[in-house]
């Protein structure tokens, strides 16, 4: 059964002229205790999708469609019910832990706040539990660290604090938006290991957003590849990396440097702006497999094989080996 189901989600930004659509007819679901990876380049709509699930879209954005979480439509909830759910049932960690933590409050205070707000713990119990949580995210000497301020910690430590805060109420879904992008590789490995460990222990689901396909390959069970606000391909981990069918997915994989001396095959051009996307397939202008028909109408996200969806009319002909 799926924990979260996004159905026909469209997100628009109001502007002086016509509203600009940045997410278009998005459909995907996340199962219980799985890591669902959402990948794509800057501006593809992956972060704004996360914000819409959390109900924290910027004020000039409008979301339409349905986001079912435990059979409740989050987009239909009133402010107060959404506030109660946020941080308790769904929580989120961000790329930049420094800007997500309040610099003038102690780590302990900030974690305890989640507990007193959502679980109605007393101040003392909440502080006690904060220490436990810091221990769970493997921060050394948590009794001392709990009284410290964000600036006294390294980037990796701050991200651990963010994770402690996010898991404080045992949420069903954790949204991780590029949680390791600002970190060094060895620290990234630590944080990924921690996230995997917590998921196994707490059996929670994770929506993992990243531009790094390597991280997706090593951690996610299913993967969605986004481009220009659309899902271009969606498949199980193994299926996607062994048998990618969308030219954009293949382009991303070919952009990763492998053997020395072999010239890379980058995707030509740049991501088009959301207000001037091509008429048919949105990837057409940059696609080396494009044919005349691609410009006629936008292809559907269709089932290529069981559980493997592709938005490309030529998916059957396109094969690629890693």
């Amino acid at each position: 059964m799926s924990l979260l189901a996004v159905r026909d989600l469209n997100i628009y930004f109001r502007s002086a002229e016509n509203p600009v659509r940045v997410v278009s007819d998005l459909n995907f679901s996340i199962r219980e205790s799985e890591i669902f990876g959402l990948a794509g380049e800057s501006g593809c709509g992956k972060s704004i999708t996360a914000l819409s699930i959390m109900g924290i879209l910027p004020s000039n954005a409008i979301a339409e469609g349905n986001i079912f979480f435990r059979n409740k439509d989050l987009l239909k909830l009133d402010r107060e019910s959404m506030r109660q759910l946020r941080g308790r049932d769904i929580s989120m960690i961000f790329q930049e832990p420094m800007t997500s933590l309040n610099p003038v409050l102690t780590i302990g205070y900030q974690i305890a706040e989640v507990l007193t707000t959502h679980l109605k713990l007393s101040g003392k119990d909440a502080m006690h539990r904060s220490v436990e949580l810091l221990r769970m995210v493997r921060i050394p000497s948590p009794e001392i660290r709990v009284k410290e301020y964000p600036h006294q910690m390294s980037g990796g430590m701050r991200q651990r604090v963010m994770i402690a805060m996010a898991i404080a109420c045992d949420p069903g879904l954790l949204i991780a938006d590029e949680p390791t992008t600002a970190l060094d590789v060895t620290i990234q490995a630590q944080i990924l290991e921690l996230i995997q460990g917590i998921r196994e222990e707490k059996r929670m689901s994770i929506l993992f957003i990243t531009h790094d396909l390597g991280i997706i390959a090593e951690n996610a069970s299913r993967v969605g590849i986004m481009y220009a606000g659309r899902l271009m391909e969606l498949a199980g981990n193994r299926e996607l990396f062994n048998d990618p069918r969308h030219p954009y997915t293949i382009g991303l994989l070919e952009s990763i440097p492998k053997k020395r001396g072999i010239l890379l095959k980058p995707i030509p051009g740049v991501v088009p702006r959301p207000e001037d996307l091509p008429a048919g397939c949105k990837f057409m202008d940059r696609c080396r497999y494009a044919i005349g028909e691609c410009g006629v109408r936008e292809p559907e996200l269709r089932e290529f094989s069981s559980g493997h969806l592709v938005r490309c009319i030529r998916a059957e002909e396109i094969t690629w080996n890693y």
Partner: protein, 322 residues
């Protein structure tokens, strides 16, 4: 031929605590040696704070070293007079990670790219426009962008402009400090191909600073791995990736998230414990020993020296006897 040689290069910064009277020494670079041959790419890798960017600045005499020498074509750049320094500036150029910060927002692309030509009297009057057009073409930009401003371009295009500016004076050495880190994967591949192409056509040598080991493996001939201001391992790129000797290098390589086709699930690697220590408080003995999974008796007491044969150097007690 040896283009650049760096000998026992050291840079200490004095750091004063707020309200403190005592000045502490931050050992950013602590006795670094390496050389770059003509036509070659030497990479420096390491995590934030390891001193790799400080080395980049020292090599170009943008900051003065505490001690040590930087020899360019066998002559110490620290002893250059004004005229010699100007000539050196023509021979050695730099490109940075943050393209927005390295281009003046109020100057057109023409202004930016023509300035080095003007300073070094490489073109004048009517030829200037043609010269700039030619340089822009060589980095894959259309010459008609000349009258536009940096904000009108994407990150990848801005990096091309920065490369164009560096190429304008036909340098022999380019110091590239994380030139790809701010770019999306598909754009990274475009810029990497451009750099590769320039290398082949012009024979420019590179000091390539990066934390992305995939890129380093693809682009460089030699690698120095830095940790807390020191080079802990130095080798030909292929040898380093095939058989890392230093435990830190091993961990770094194991931390790269990889896509391995065919595997059901990639095996979990053992993440390194702890953070990089502060360069204000470098551990005694081997600076890596508190985090090292292979440490033994002498590691916390005796500083290992960088030694080895045939240009394969490692600074580790495990290898010092053999």
């Amino acid at each position: 031929m040896e283009l650049l040689r760096v000998e026992s290069l050291t840079k200490y910064f004095g750091v004063k605590k707020l309200f403190g009277s005592r000045e502490e020494l931050l050992k950013a670079v602590d006795g670094v040696d390496f050389s770059i041959k003509k036509d070659k790419v030497m990479a420096l890798v390491g995590e934030s704070g390891c001193g790799k960017s400080t080395v980049a600045r020292l090599v170009l005499n943008l900051i003065k070293p505490t001690s040590g020498t930087v020899l360019f074509r066998g002559r110490n750049i620290l002893e250059f007079d004004r005229k010699e320094m100007k000539a050196f500036r023509k021979s050695a150029q730099i490109i940075f990670q943050d393209t927005f910060a390295s281009l003046n927002p109020r100057r057109t692309i023409y202004d930016t790219v023509s300035e080095p030509l003007l300073i070094h009297n490489l073109a004048a009057g009517s030829q200037m426009k043609d010269a700039v057009a030619e340089i822009l073409r060589s980095v894959g930009l259309a010459p008609d962008i000349m009258n536009r401003y940096p904000h009108e371009f994407s990150g990848g295009q801005r990096q091309r402009i920065c490369i164009a500016r560096a190429l304008a004076v036909s340098p022999e050495l380019i110091v590239a400090d994380e030139p790809l880190s701010a770019l999306d994967v598909s754009i990274q591949a475009q810029i990497l191909n451009l750099l590769q192409d320039l290398r082949e056509k012009t024979g420019i040598s590179f000091l390539f600073i990066s934390h992305d080991l995939r890129v380093v493996k693809y682009f460089s001939d030699d690698v120095g791995v830095m940790y807390l201001g020191k080079i802990v391992e130095y080798a030909k790129t292929d040898e380093l990736f095939e058989r890392p000797l230093h435990p830190y290098t091993e961990v770094l390589l194991a931390s790269i998230p990889e896509i391995r086709a065919g595997d059901e699930k990639t095996p979990r690697r053992g993440a390194l414990k702890g953070d990089v220590p502060s360069p204000l408080d470098i551990p005694a003995g081997c600076p890596f020993h508190p985090r090292c999974p292979k440490r033994f008796d002498p590691c916390d007491k005796i500083v290992p020296s960088l030694s080895g044969q045939n240009g394969r150097l490692v600074s580790c007690h495990l290898w010092s006897s053999s």
